[in-house]
């Protein structure tokens, strides 16, 4: 799966080329933080996770083995670290769970909803109706613009599963929005 430009970049990093490393960092930092924030629901936590991964990457650059694309590798590392952190959180006090829930609710707060158009808030609601795994994969495709192969590499699933899950997401969302979509279509085509 690994492609030559990635190999060049990896080689440069392995030889301690800071500039190349910085370029990689700058290229992926924002999107990795967004991705982590989607799981952790907190941007500060997300930044911490992503920074720790880059730091570890740099420190272990000489021994690191990557058999997927660099992008998939970074996302996978972020994904796993976030899940570990969540697990850790769950073991901690109920209080923390309450905080977790608080963030989740805060996430779609009333003011935020007001900024969204009617269509967006309906789609957002439909998105929340998806089963967890299905929603995650769908978001990875639509929010992070990851290719099917990349999602498969990150989650360690087959590309077929990704295909099925995103198809399933589409099906469920269409059903959820069934009453609303014809109106939208009517508006879109009669502008």
């Amino acid at each position: 799966m690994i492609q030559t430009p990635d190999l060049d970049i990896l080689l440069a990093i392995r030889q301690g080329n800071e500039r190349v490393f910085e370029t990689v960092f700058r290229k992926y930092y924002q999107s990795l933080c967004n991705y982590a924030c989607g799981i952790l629901k907190d941007m500060d936590d997300a930044e911490e996770v992503v920074q720790s991964i880059f730091l570890k990457f740099w420190e272990q650059r000489e021994s690191i083995e990557i058999n997927v694309s660099l992008k998939s590798y970074l996302y996978r590392a972020v994904h796993n670290t976030c899940l570990n952190r969540l697990k850790h959180l769950k073991i901690q006090e109920v209080h923390k769970l309450y905080v977790g829930n608080y963030y989740e609710e805060n996430h779609d707060s009333a003011t935020e909803m007001m900024d969204k158009t009617d269509l967006e808030s309906r789609i957002s609601n439909a998105l929340e109706k998806l089963p967890e795994q299905c929603r995650l994969i769908f978001k990875m495709s639509r929010f992070e613009e990851l290719k099917y192969q990349e999602i498969a590499d990150i989650l360690g699933l087959s590309i077929k599963t990704i295909e099925n899950q995103i198809g399933k997401a589409l099906k469920i969302m269409r059903a959820e929005l069934a009453d609303y979509l014809p109106v939208v279509l009517f508006l879109l085509f009669n502008q």
Binding site: D8, E18, Q30, Q51, W58, E120, L127, L177, L185
Partner: protein
């Protein structure tokens, strides 16, 4: 379609730009099969196009984060530089200059390498040319084109910008995917044909261009001159002039006449033959028995009705034909491999 692949899987793949041409063809065919299918397609499109805008992107401070990592030692070097005594400054200036030059070289080569790897080629131009047989093509926007023999079209891999523009040489029948926001423009022999979702035929060999409209409205122009053509009207550009003559088409029949069909089969399996026929005629021809697919057909058809083609096939392999609306079933014993 694979057995465990639903149409939703395929649609999702299509909107995520993951389909191969075979899958895109299946979708094109499926959309064309019924109004309901088209509706589902449009609905899915709205979902896919709207979802990314929900992304809750909080901008992070990348510069600060990079500094926090403390990998780059440049900051420390800089402060040391300032404290150095005069004579060394010159040397450092050169040193810095070299550093900057080195960085630029690295960044440039990185950009060069990365541009190939990470940036999706958006301006890729696809050319499609027919030889002795006509062919069907579905464009990235869902527009269906039946390209006549010895004709060619050129179009971008993805339509960017406000308009969808393609080039045509020769003759083609267009069924343009409806999209008010992005007019569809065909450039051919110095003329522009602009449409908003409609079907029509364009014949443009040499410098003579003819447009016949089946449904909708078309703006046909050269330089500053233009005519608006409506359903059942014909516009003709006289060779080597900018004069466009507008006339009514006598019979609706003439409109589809442009869609000349020819098929050449040489030891082609019936499975493939039927796939081709289904694609071209928009019917559903199937078999009562999988073995029939193995039969190898060698024949050529010029502007034949589907019925005649089917009869020739049935005659050749001793098959019976059952027809019910769009569904045609061939039954019989079939052939071994």
């Amino acid at each position: 379609m694979n057995q465990d692949q639903t149409i939703d899987d395929l649609l999702a793949k299509y909107f995520a730009n993951e389909t191969d041409t075979h899958e895109a063809d299946i979708i094109g065919e499926w959309i064309g099969a019924s109004g309901d299918n088209k509706k589902v397609f449009e609905q899915s499109k709205v979902i896919f196009k709207s979802v990314p805008s929900l992304k809750n992107q909080k901008a992070v401070n990348v510069d600060a984060a990079w500094k926090k990592l403390g990998i780059s030692k440049n900051n420390i070097t800089k402060t040391v530089d300032i404290q150095e005594v005069e004579p060394i400054v010159k040397f450092n200036w050169l040193n810095n200059f070299l550093k900057i030059a080195a960085v630029l070289v690295v960044l440039f080569s990185l950009w060069f390498v990365a541009a190939k790897q990470f940036v999706i080629p958006q301006n890729d131009v696809i050319s499609f040319k027919t030889g002795n047989a006509s062919a069907e093509k579905i464009l990235p926007d869902g527009t269906k084109i039946s390209l006549n023999k010895n004709s060619s079209i050129t179009y971008p891999a993805t339509f960017e910008g406000d308009t969808r523009e393609i080039k045509l040489d020769g003759e083609a029948f267009f069924n343009v995917h409806h999209n008010v926001a992005h007019p569809f423009i065909i450039h051919t022999q110095g003329t522009d044909i602009q449409v908003l979702g409609t079907s029509f035929n364009v014949r443009a060999y040499n410098t003579q261009v003819q447009v016949i409209v089946k449904t909708g409205r078309v703006r046909f122009s050269k330089n500053n001159k233009e005519v608006i053509l409506e359903k059942g009207q014909k516009g003709e550009l006289l060779a080597n002039t900018a004069t466009i003559i507008k006339s009514e088409v006598e019979e609706q029949k003439e409109i589809t006449q442009g869609k000349k069909l020819s098929f050449e089969f040489e030891k082609t399996s019936l499975g493939e033959v039927v796939e081709k026929l289904n694609q071209t005629f928009g019917k559903k021809i199937s078999f009562s028995n999988e073995k029939i697919k193995n039969c190898k057909l060698t024949a050529s058809f010029q502007d034949e009705e589907l019925e005649n083609i089917i009869n020739v096939i049935a005659e050749t392999f001793g098959l019976k034909v059952y027809t019910q609306k769009d569904l045609i079933i061939l039954s019989g014993e079939g052939c071994g491999i």
